[in-house]
């Protein structure tokens, strides 16, 4: 039984290696929890989300170590861009965050990179960079204090906050 399981896992890992070609680097964080609130390890729930206006969520979420915007994130940011265009006097701070499973200094840089990914997207939808400030908190300000993959997924985020 046990051996079978080990063999099976080994095969899975081997298969994953072939696909990723960069084995044992990327998905270091366990993705063992299937909660329906995560896709891959990107948070898809709404527990922590606040709204800048009706139908305008304030945040987007990221995969471990990534700063790529998901389809859902791009949709959120388009809604934010539309709202910002309607409210030309409002400036925003994009607060970039990382989860606790990384070294402090790298996470500061990663938070900055995530917030910039959001900024770049807002800019392509017509929002001037003058209206956007980027602020990284690294792993210093988690929203969920849990030590599990779901909590971490909520913490890997870029939050758009009104600056005035």
């Amino acid at each position: 039984m046990r051996l079978n399981k080990i063999l099976k896992n080994t095969l899975l890992v081997l298969a994953a290696c072939l696909v990723l070609s960069a084995c044992a680097t990327k998905k270091e964080v366990a993705t063992d929890i299937i909660t329906g609130q995560m896709q891959g390890d990107v948070y898809t729930g709404t527990d922590t989300v606040e709204y800048l206006a009706d139908g305008v969520p304030d945040r987007v979420f990221f995969a471990t170590n990534e700063s790529i915007l998901t389809t859902a994130s791009r949709e959120t940011l388009r809604a934010q861009a539309a709202w910002l265009r309607k409210n030309p006097n409002i400036n925003v701070v994009l607060e970039g965050h990382a989860d606790e499973r990384g070294t402090r200094e790298y996470n500061l840089a990663l938070g900055e990179r995530r917030a910039n990914a959001a900024k770049d997207y807002l800019m392509t939808y017509g929002i001037s960079s003058d209206r956007i400030t980027v602020l990284s908190y690294g792993k210093e300000r988690p929203v969920d204090s849990g030590s599990n993959p779901l909590a971490w997924s909520k913490n890997r985020r870029s939050v758009t906050v009104k600056a005035n």
């Binding site: 270091e28 700063s67 606790e100 499973r101 990384g102 070294t103 402090r104 500061l108 990179r113 988690p142």
Partner: protein
């Protein structure tokens, strides 16, 4: 803060005896050397004098306790129980009866005496080789009474150096970040303490987030990251005067600061448009130089002790790895090739090793490797730990460790730990609050 206090040091008698005892520090605490720390003797007049000023009943015993504690925590020595001592402290200091000390299996003996002379604290101590029945070292110090703890640390350093052949690390301080409050809203302050946890002081009030303080190896200056006015920037703090200033004029976040070995430059990261590069700033002429230029995250830079090389953390390969380059940014070489992610490289003050944090399969490790990346050795594994800082003699690493919270998100704590380079002698360093981001000072004396 701590004023520079002159400690006069005399060599009482030239050292002539060759040591027969020797401590092999590469073996860790497998077999700590048994030694006896006889309480420093004190005459009644001096005892009363110090009791009045220092509110300590017997300053001689207090200094001995510091020595004993330092030697024990090094993991290399086993100070024996005083109850077993047969000879009185004052007589032992004149001429030990070696057969008595031999009987309790002490291989080395420390004796001494304390005097109150002209409002000053005068301490003399002697180190004896019990088996050879010889004096190995005799020194005397004169200083202001308030400096008594430092006298204990200096004695410890002298004993350590005489018995191991390497400099000690006891007369040093640790700067760190004190943490309080819930995990989602931590209040962080800069704090400083002696290496043994005594004399803890807070340097900031906690109004803004502060991170990663690091000592200047050449002075008691500190560089750190502060979120003052919600703008994360590298600052410079003079802990003697309390004055602080922002380092450089960057249009964005500067972070991950460290000093160059001569203390004349600060090296740090500057993040802009989603990439982080490494910069230096000369503290005298304020000239800023860009050292790396890459689309990736380049951070956590640390100089080699000769200042010629820099090790740093980069994800230019796709993931966090450790690199080494020349101090002008040329000749970049990746040195970490094991499984997992590597961060926080710190060059040993001895120059031969780089300490790092490693993340592999959901566990965090503190480890060391040679500067070409060979000989990787993991010293300790845990749920979360990072940010090693070297003792000035390059024998001990201090770092911080965080606990996993329970299903309700409770039970979080962050503490400082130290471990010997051998991987033995792991200990928690007690702090009044939770603590992270420790940085070890150089030796305060000499």
């Amino acid at each position: 803060m701590t004023k520079k206090i002159l400690i006069l040091l005399f060599i009482l008698i030239p050292i002539n005896a060759n040591a027969l005892i020797e401590v092999d520090i590469t073996r860790g605490n497998l077999n700590p050397l048994p030694l006896a720390v006889s309480p420093l003797s004190i005459d009644e007049k001096s005892r009363k004098g110090f009791e009045k000023i220092l509110k300590k009943e017997n300053i001689g015993s207090e200094i001995s306790k510091i020595v004993e504690n330092n030697l024990r925590t090094s993991g290399l020595f086993n100070p024996l129980d005083k109850k077993a001592f047969l000879q009185a402290p004052d007589i032992a200091n004149l001429k030990p009866r070696f057969e008595d000390w031999n009987l309790i299996k002490a291989q080395a003996l420390i004796t001494g005496k304390v005097n109150y002379v002209d409002d000053k604290l005068r301490v003399e101590f002697r180190l004896w080789d019990v088996l050879a029945a010889k004096e190995m070292m005799a020194l005397a110090f004169t200083t202001v009474p308030n400096n008594w703890r430092r006298v204990g640390h200096i004695i410890s350093d002298k004993v350590y150096e005489r018995l191991t052949g390497e400099k000690g690390y006891f007369d040093t301080r640790i700067i760190y970040v004190s943490e309080e409050g819930p995990k989602t809203q931590r209040i962080k302050k800069l704090a400083i303490m002696d290496q043994d946890g005594a004399n803890n002081k807070f340097l900031t009030l906690g109004n803004e987030l502060v991170l990663t303080p690091r000592f200047n190896p050449a002075s008691q200056m500190v560089t750190y990251l502060s979120y003052f006015k919600n703008m994360p920037r590298v600052y410079l703090l003079d802990i003697e005067t309390g004055t602080q200033e922002v380092v450089g004029d960057f249009p964005g976040m500067t972070f991950a600061p460290r000093f160059s070995p001569d203390g004349k430059k600060i090296i740090m990261s500057f993040a802009k448009d989603g990439k982080s590069d490494i910069y230096t700033m000369d503290l005298e002429n304020r000239i800023v130089e860009k050292i790396t230029n890459h689309q990736s995250i380049d951070t956590s830079p640390s100089y080699s002790p000769d200042g010629k090389y820099i090790t740093f953390n980069s994800d230019r390969s796709g993931y966090q790895q450790i690199y080494v380059m020349k101090n002008d940014g040329s000749d970049v070489k990746r040195i970490s090739f094991g499984n997992g992610l590597y961060g926080t490289p710190v060059w040993s003050p001895r120059g031969d090793l780089i300490a790092f944090t490693k993340l592999h399969k959901g566990k965090f490790y503190i480890g060391v490797m040679r500067t070409d990346g060979s000989g990787e050795r993991l010293l300790t594994e845990n749920y979360y730990q990072e940010a090693p800082s070297w003792s000035p003699n390059g024998r001990v690493l201090i770092f911080y460790r965080e606990t996993k919270t329970n299903s309700k998100g409770e039970g979080f704590s962050a503490k400082l730990w130290s471990i010997d380079l051998t991987g033995y002698n792991e200990r928690q360093i007690k702090t009044p609050t939770d603590a992270s981001d420790p940085s070890w000072s150089s030796l305060l004396s000499n």
